[in-house]
């Protein structure tokens, strides 16, 4: 499955179910388009989280559970199971029952079928362990043969070899009969076994999600009917990499209308913000909790996110072709009259500065024609201020007071990533030269740029 290029794979890589069934559930997670499907996932995570004290014991049991679906299918096709397969079933029933008892009274989705009868078939000696042995109790003749076998093996009587071989043969024959008998008794329970395996996979996945929520501090988002709002949104991948170098991620908060444009200088984090919104939405629509202190966002049928050069490069397109391609996808959604979230990072940037802004203006207008869609754009172009009916944001950017007072710090120290709403008559930031200087570009070169700037203004 191909996901949006927004870092969702990173999140998935942190989800770690311990059973093969749980891993399969993880791979089967899809983009959910209905509120109630997302709600169901939320509810499951909350339920498991409520039983916080049980999570450790649930995990220690889950870790012991093998994938026995191959054996179940052998059972279904009427095969006679061998000792290893019978052990697998017994061990599975054992751990499934343990899990059932730890869960106690629980909601329907995690209710495991009762496998105690399956277990008791395979535990004739009432040993209560997962070990499996074709016990003497399973066939009356078995005890007799084995007793004699042991006697002969202990005493090694003369002329014993032949009768020993005969006893071994008889023992094997009876054992085979017992296996056939057990397989027949177990066959009616194959559906219960299968159901247990499926349910265990679901529990395993939710336990893994709850652990992820704790590890990354994810919170349950609210499903809104229209508004789009979040507080203190962070990008977990970037936050982790920043914290390695002793820095921290500055969280974003925003409330977006149906048509929003974010402006701001270079290095202020417009792209990061857009990427994180794409991630937020993707996580939300897979039923996950989200990396924001609070989020209230609607469910969409599709997300179109255009992040820029790298993406097109990987798709074998020029940056411009990539942009056009994504625009086409977005237009299709507008026409289809379904809900779409459109996130375009600096639309029109890959063409000339005369036509580029025109792309921006047209996109802003056209993409918001459909009431069911929401558009968030970032831009470098001053024309962005003139987009009709758009809600405008700016990322604060350079803190000039800090620049004046402290010299020689890393650039991130001088940048304020806060997002603030502005009016359309606001001043458009021009800080490329200052930022280039802070990044250490040669002084003479900077002076040349400034000279060029003055000339073009005159």
């Amino acid at each position: 499955m191909k996901y949006l290029d927004c870092g969702f794979e990173y999140i998935l890589s942190l989800i770690d179910p311990v059973t093969p069934m749980g891993r399969e559930e993880l791979r089967a997670m899809t983009f959910l388009k209905r509120d109630k499907d997302i709600e169901a996932y939320h509810k499951r995570q909350l339920e498991v989280n409520e039983n916080e004290s049980k999570i450790e014991s649930l995990k220690s049991i889950l870790e012991r559970i093998r994938d026995i679906r191959g054996t179940i299918s052998n059972l279904s096709s009427g095969k006679i199971l061998d000792d290893i397969e019978l052990f697998e079933i017994k061990s599975f029933a054992y751990w499934s029952e343990r899990l059932r008892s730890v869960l106690g009274v629980c909601s329907f989705w995690m209710q495991l079928p009762d496998l105690s009868i399956v277990f008791s078939f395979l535990d004739p000696d009432n040993a209560g362990t997962e070990s499996f042995y074709i016990s003497d109790r399973l066939d009356n003749a078995l005890a007799v043969v084995r007793k004699e076998l042991h006697r002969l093996q202990r005493n090694r009587e003369k002329h014993g070899e032949e009768s020993l071989d005969e006893l071994i043969r008889q023992n094997l024959e009876i054992e085979d009969r017992v296996r056939a008998d057990l397989s027949g008794k177990l066959a009616p329970y194959r559906e219960n076994l299968q159901r247990s395996a499926t349910t265990i996979g679901k529990i395993d996945l939710i336990v893994a999600l709850v652990e992820l929520n704790r590890e990354l501090g994810l919170r349950k988002p609210e499903i809104s009917s229209g508004e789009y709002e979040f507080e203190e949104l962070v990008n977990p991948e970037l936050a982790a990499s920043l914290s390695k170098s002793g820095k921290s991620f500055q969280p974003f908060s925003a409330r977006f209308e149906r048509k929003s444009v974010i402006i701001g200088g270079n290095m202020t984090g417009k792209s990061v913000l857009l990427r994180t919104v794409a991630l937020l939405q993707t996580m939300f629509q897979h039923g996950l909790f989200v990396p924001a202190k609070r989020a209230s966002i609607p469910v969409y049928d599709a997300i179109v996110y255009y992040s820029g050069d790298k993406q097109s490069f990987l798709d074998g397109l020029s940056s411009f072709a990539g942009e056009v391609d994504h625009l086409k996808k977005a237009l299709e959604i507008v026409h289809k009259d379904i809900g779409g979230l459109f996130l375009f990072d600096e639309i029109g940037r890959s063409t000339n500065p005369v036509e580029g802004p025109a792309f921006l203006m047209a996109s802003a207008e056209y993409l918001s024609r459909n009431e069911k869609c929401r558009t968030i754009l970032t831009s470098h172009y001053e024309e962005a201020l003139e987009i009709e009916g758009a809600q405008l944001f700016i990322i604060k950017g350079l803190d000039h007071e800090r620049i004046r007072n402290e010299i020689g710090r890393e650039i991130s120290y001088y940048v304020d990533h806060s997002l603030v709403e502005i009016e359309s008559n606001a001043f458009f930031p021009r800080e490329a030269v200052t930022i280039a200087r802070l990044l250490g570009l040669e002084r003479e070169f900077i002076e040349l740029i400034v000279r060029n700037l003055k000339e073009s203004c005159e």
Partner: protein, 334 residues
Amino acid sequence: MKRRIRISDLAEGIEVISVIGLEKNTGKTVVLNQMLKEFREKGTTVGVTSTGLEGEKRDQVYLNEKPEITVSRGTYFVTSERDFRHRSFPATVIDLRDYRSPLGRMVFARAEADGKVIISGPSILVYLSEAVNTMRSYGCEKILIDGSTSRMSPGTPLVSDGVVLATGAALSMNLNELCRKTSFVVRLLSLPGTEPELHKRIASLGTGLWLEKDGVFERLCHSPLTAKSLKHELAGRTIYINGSLTSSVLLALAEKNTRIILKDFSRVFFDEISLAKYERVGGRLEVLHPAHLIAVTVNPLAPSGFKIQSEKLIKSLEDKVDVPVLDVLEETSN
């Protein structure tokens, strides 16, 4: 009549014992079976496994049937699914683990009657060690490991407390040659361990060839195999090799009083002559993990049918090595 030495008596106080063979048909399996038998007689709870797949059931050259291990009621064993299915006796399956072996998962089991089974245990050291620990948790007092038919049984000293070395006419039909080859391996198995202080400093170093300089180890190259023309002053210095040591490298390092430390004896890929040259200039050889050699066993019978006179063989070997030497066929004949 001289009282026969029992191999189980020699293994007193040693919990995990590896049996390694110098060549196929040197009687490794006979030794294992003998030990299993003796421990059973003593009422000791035994576990048995092996290091990895050792090949076909049939010896390809001589078509001798590869002997199966004879376990008795109550013996614990760890073998592959495939070989477990081919056993001839009732057994309890206790655990099933996926060690990604080509022969399938590993079955942890207990024999419920006497019988035969081919043992093909985990081929990776960490899993072998896990299997040993698991059998210990089942209550095994002795754990036997069927080592590979080669002295290059990596990590043997790491998982086992003692080693039994099986040699015999299958290695060479020439008595002198046989004794020479065997005593060389015995020497390697007896390489002294490095002192604890140095061990601690070395243990975490990665692969390659390391030279000690002013108390600090410096990596000269990543692959010890290519370290032939070192420009460094080596005389009197300590060198740690995490990897294999070949004859040519050993000779390249042969300078006055050098001290080479290897991980364990299984990393040795040099011959006797090179070792002699290295030692002649005052070189010393040590290992991080020394092995404890319990005994040498001999099989005077070669698979071709040729037989070396047993007493003479034992006598010749006893002159060269200072551990007990036993004839495996004599052991089993009574």
